[in-house]
C-alpha cells in the first residue's frame, strides 16, 4: 500500500472545481438523472473533450467530475488495482482539480471509479460506483448501425442477441462470452456491463450502491439504480455460469475472487493473485495467507 500523500494541498485553483464548468456538470447530471429513471437505457449526452485521450476513461471521468463534492472520498481502480498507471493518473487528476481525499480502501470510499472490475467487497447504499465504458451498445457487434440498434432497444427486439448466444452454444457447447457479458436490467433494457469479466455480473444484481456508466467517445450515460435486478442473459437449459479457477490467490489464499495470472519465469512457472489489490491486502492484514507466502512456493 502506498501512503495517501496525494490528497489535500495539491488543489489547483486555476480550474473550476472538478475541471468541468458548472453548466456542463448540470447537463451531465440531467443525463444521469434520466439514466437513473430508465435503468439500463443509454442516454445521449454532450460529452466534452477531456485532458485524457478517449479510451482512457473520459466518460467515467466526466460522470465523476459532475457528481463529486469536496467531502467525497475517492477511490480509482483499473483492472481491480489502485496502482495501475491509468488509475494513478485519474486519481491525480481529481486530486489536482478537486483536492478531495483519496483512498485505496473500498470501505472508506464514497465514490469509486473503475475500469474493468467491481470490487470484491460488497458496496453500500452510501457509495457510488462509476464505470468507464468503451462501447456502451451491447448490440453493436451484432449490428453496427446506431439507427438500427436504437430501434431494436425501443421495440425490445433482442432476438439477435439470443441468436448469438444460441450459436455460441451450438458451436462451443457453452456461451463463449467471458467479459462484457450482456445483462438485462429491471426486466427491460439489455445493457453492456462494460468490459468487466462476467465473474462480476452477479455483483451488479440488486447492488445497494448506485452504478453509473459513462462512455465519453460514444457520448452515452446509463445507470443501474440501487437494488435493481440485473440478470445475465442465458437459457433455461444453459444457465449463466461463473468461471472456475483451480487455483487460489498466492498471497491471501482467497478461493472466491477474480485471479490474475502472473508469469514467474519462461519455463511455465506462474501464480495467481487477486485482481482486487485492496481486498487482497486486507485479507493478508487479517492473517490469511496463500501458497506464495509459504517459502516462495508459487502455484503451478
Amino acid at each position: 500500500m502506498s501512503p495517501q500523500s496525494e490528497s489535500g494541498s495539491a488543489f489547483d485553483s486555476a480550474y473550476n472545481f472538478a475541471f468541468l464548468d458548472e453548466q456542463t456538470k448540470r447537463m451531465i447530471r440531467r443525463a444521469i438523472l434520466k439514466a437513473v429513471a430508465i435503468p439500463g437505457y443509454q442516454v445521449p449526452f454532450a460529452s466534452r473533450e477531456m485532458p485524457m485521450p478517449y479510451g482512457w476513461g473520459t466518460g467515467g471521468i466526466q460522470v465523476t467530475a459532475s457528481i463529486i463534492g469536496p467531502d467525497d472520498v475517492l477511490k480509482v481502480i483499473d483492472q481491480g488495482s489502485d496502482d495501475t498507471t491509468n488509475a494513478i493518473s485519474i486519481r491525480k487528476f481529481f486530486v489536482r482539480t478537486t483536492g478531495v481525499e483519496t483512498t485505496e480502501s473500498t470501505a472508506d470510499a464514497s465514490l469509486i471509479q473503475t475500469r474493468h472490475r467491481i470490487p470484491e467487497k460488497d458496496l453500500r447504499a452510501d457509495q457510488i460506483l462509476v464505470f468507464q465504458v468503451p462501447i456502451p451498445e451491447p448490440l453493436r457487434f451484432l449490428e453496427p448501425r446506431e439507427t438500427e440498434t436504437r430501434r431494436m432497444h425501443a421495440l425490445e427486439d433482442y432476438g439477435l442477441m439470443h441468436v448469438k448466444l444460441y450459436e455460441d452454444i451450438a458451436h462451443h457447447g457453452h456461451i463463449a462470452t467471458t467479459y462484457a457479458y450482456p445483462v438485462k436490467v429491471a426486466g427491460r433494457y439489455v445493457m453492456d456491463p462494460s468490459p468487466t469479466p462476467k465473474f462480476d455480473n452477479p455483483k451488479m444484481d440488486r447492488m445497494a450502491a448506485l452504478q453509473l456508466f459513462g462512455a465519453g467517445r460514444e457520448k452515452r450515460i446509463y445507470a443501474v439504480p440501487p437494488h435493481t435486478e440485473v440478470k445475465s442473459l442465458d437459457f433455461d437449459d444453459y444457465p449463466f455460469e461463473l468461471p472456475e479457477w483451480q487455483d487460489v490467490c498466492a498471497f491471501c489464499g482467497a478461493e472466491d475472487t477474480f485471479l490474475d495470472e502472473v508469469i514467474l519465469d519462461d519455463r511455465g512457472k506462474r501464480m495467481f493473485v487477486c485482481s482486487d489489490t485492496d481486498h487482497c491486502s486486507e485479507r493478508r492484514a487479517a492473517g490469511h495467507a496463500g501458497p506464495a507466502l509459504f517459502d516462495g512456493e508459487a502455484a503451478d
Binding site: E49, G55, W56, P134, P197
Partner: protein
C-alpha cells in the same frame, strides 16, 4: 521472487521527465519559439486550429510545440483546452462573399468577375528540395497586386444560380438555431448542418481518402472545383445592449464549393448540385476533400442509391474525429489483464474439452439441429 507489478507512480513521473527532455532535444540548439511556429509553420497552425475547433494562433502554436510537432496530439491538446472555455456569445453567420481575398480560383471558368487570384499556393511550384532554404537568408518582398476594378468577387455558385442551373440552397437563418455538435451528441440521421460540423472537425487524412474514393468510382459525384477562396472575414456579434452587430475581429477562412453533375429526378430538373467545404486558416486540401464528402453524403436527400463507404453517413461521421479515433485505437495499450485472463481461461477450457473428447463434432451438430 516476482511480485505483482507495483510502483507505476514513479515510472510515470520519470517518463514525463524523459518526454520533456526529448521534446527539447539538443540543448546546444536554440529552443523553438512560439512566435517562430506561428510565423513559419502557419499551415500546421491552421490545421490544428481547424480540427481543434478553436481559432487561436498562439494556443495552436503552443500545442504544436508541446506535442513535438505531432499535429493530432496538438489538436487533442487544443480540444481539451477548449473544454475549459465558457461560451460568451454566438457570432452572426460570417459572409464569405465579402471576404478580403488572398486567393480565389475557379476551375469551371477561365475568367470571371474579380479574376483568378493564385495567392500563396504550392500548386505551380516544382517539388524540388530547395537546398538554399537549408541556410538562413532574407526573402525578397512579393510583388503587390494592383487593386482590381471594384474589388468585388461574386461567388461562382451565385453566377450559376442566376441562370437556375444549380440547386438553390435553402435560405438560412429561418429562426431555428443550427444543431451544435459541441453541445449535443451526434444524432443519426444527421441533417446537413450537423454533418458539415462533423466534417469541419474531421481528420484531414480521413476525409482526403474518402473524397478520393468517390473520384475512383466508389460513389461517384462528377465534381468540379467551382470555386476555392481564402482570405479574411469579419466576425460579428449582435450586442443586445446597443441593439446592433459589432465586429469583434477577423479570421482567415478557406472555402470550397464543388459543383456536381446531377441528372435530375422525378421531381427535380437536371441541374448542378453542391458540395461544401470550409476550414479555419488555409487548409485547402481539407476544404476540397470535405466538399467531396459532403456531396457524397447528400445521396439520401438527392434520391441517389447509397452504395459506397463515402455515402454511408453513420460510417463516415462516426469515424471522422481524430481525437476520438486516436484515443480509442491507442487505448489498446492500456492494461487489459482482466479481460485477457477471462479469455485465457476460456481458451484453456475449450482445449481441455476437446482433449477430453467431450465436444465431439457429432454432439455439437446435435445441439445445432435442436
Amino acid at each position: 521472487m516476482y511480485v505483482a507489478v507495483k510502483g507505476g507512480e514513479q515510472a510515470i513521473e520519470n517518463a514525463h521527465a524523459l518526454l520533456a527532455e526529448d521534446r527539447r532535444g539538443d540543448q546546444a540548439v536554440p529552443e523553438l519559439g512560439i512566435d517562430q511556429i506561428k510565423q513559419q509553420m502557419t499551415l500546421a497552425v491552421d490545421r490544428v486550429m481547424t480540427e481543434g475547433s478553436l481559432y487561436d494562433r498562439d494556443l495552436a502554436a503552443l500545442a504544436i510545440k508541446q506535442a513535438r510537432g505531432d499535429l493530432v496530439e496538438a489538436i487533442f491538446l487544443l480540444r481539451a483546452y477548449r473544454t475549459t472555455l465558457p461560451r460568451l456569445a454566438e457570432t452572426r453567420p460570417v459572409d464569405t462573399g465579402a471576404m478580403r481575398i488572398r486567393r480565389r480560383i475557379s476551375a469551371t471558368y477561365k475568367d470571371l468577375p474579380g479574376g483568378q487570384v493564385l495567392g500563396p499556393t504550392f500548386d505551380y511550384t516544382h517539388r524540388l528540395l530547395d537546398f538554399a532554404l537549408a541556410a538562413e537568408g532574407a526573402v525578397p518582398d512579393a510583388p503587390e497586386a494592383p487593386q482590381g476594378d471594384d474589388g468585388t468577387m461574386p461567388r461562382v455558385s451565385d453566377l450559376l444560380a442566376n441562370e437556375n442551373l444549380i440547386e438553390t440552397e435553402p435560405a438560412g437563418d429561418d429562426g431555428a438555431p443550427p444543431p451544435d455538435l459541441t453541445r449535443d451528441p451526434m444524432d443519426f440521421p444527421a441533417e446537413r448542418a450537423l454533418r458539415l460540423q462533423a466534417l469541419a472537425r474531421g481528420d484531414e487524412g480521413y476525409l482526403l481518402a474518402l473524397g478520393y474514393s468517390t473520384q475512383r468510382g466508389y460513389g461517384r459525384t462528377h465534381p468540379f472545383a467551382g470555386e476555392i477562396r481564402m482570405g479574411a472575414v469579419e466576425v460579428e456579434v449582435f450586442v443586445e445592449e446597443i441593439g446592433e452587430a459589432v465586429v469583434i475581429g477577423e479570421i482567415t477562412l478557406t472555402e470550397c464549393e464543388m459543383i456536381n453533375q446531377f441528372a435530375g429526378s422525378k421531381t427535380e430538373p437536371p441541374q448542378f448540385t453542391r458540395g461544401y467545404g470550409l476550414t479555419f486558416g488555409f487548409c485547402e486540401r481539407k476544404a476540397m476533400a470535405m466538399a467531396l464528402v459532403d456531396r457524397a453524403l447528400r445521396c439520401r436527400e438527392l434520391g441517389e442509391e447509397a452504395t459506397a463507404p463515402a455515402q454511408d453517413e453513420e460510417f463516415v461521421l462516426a469515424h471522422a474525429d481524430n481525437v476520438e479515433a486516436s484515443g480509442f485505437v491507442q487505448h489498446l495499450k492500456l492494461p487489459h489483464y482482466v479481460d485477457f485472463q477471462s479469455e485465457l481461461e476460456l481458451v484453456r477450457k475449450m482445449r481441455r474439452e476437446i482433449a477430453e473428447g467431450r465436444w465431439a463434432e457429432g454432439e455439437a451438430a446435435d445441439v445445432a439441429a435442436e
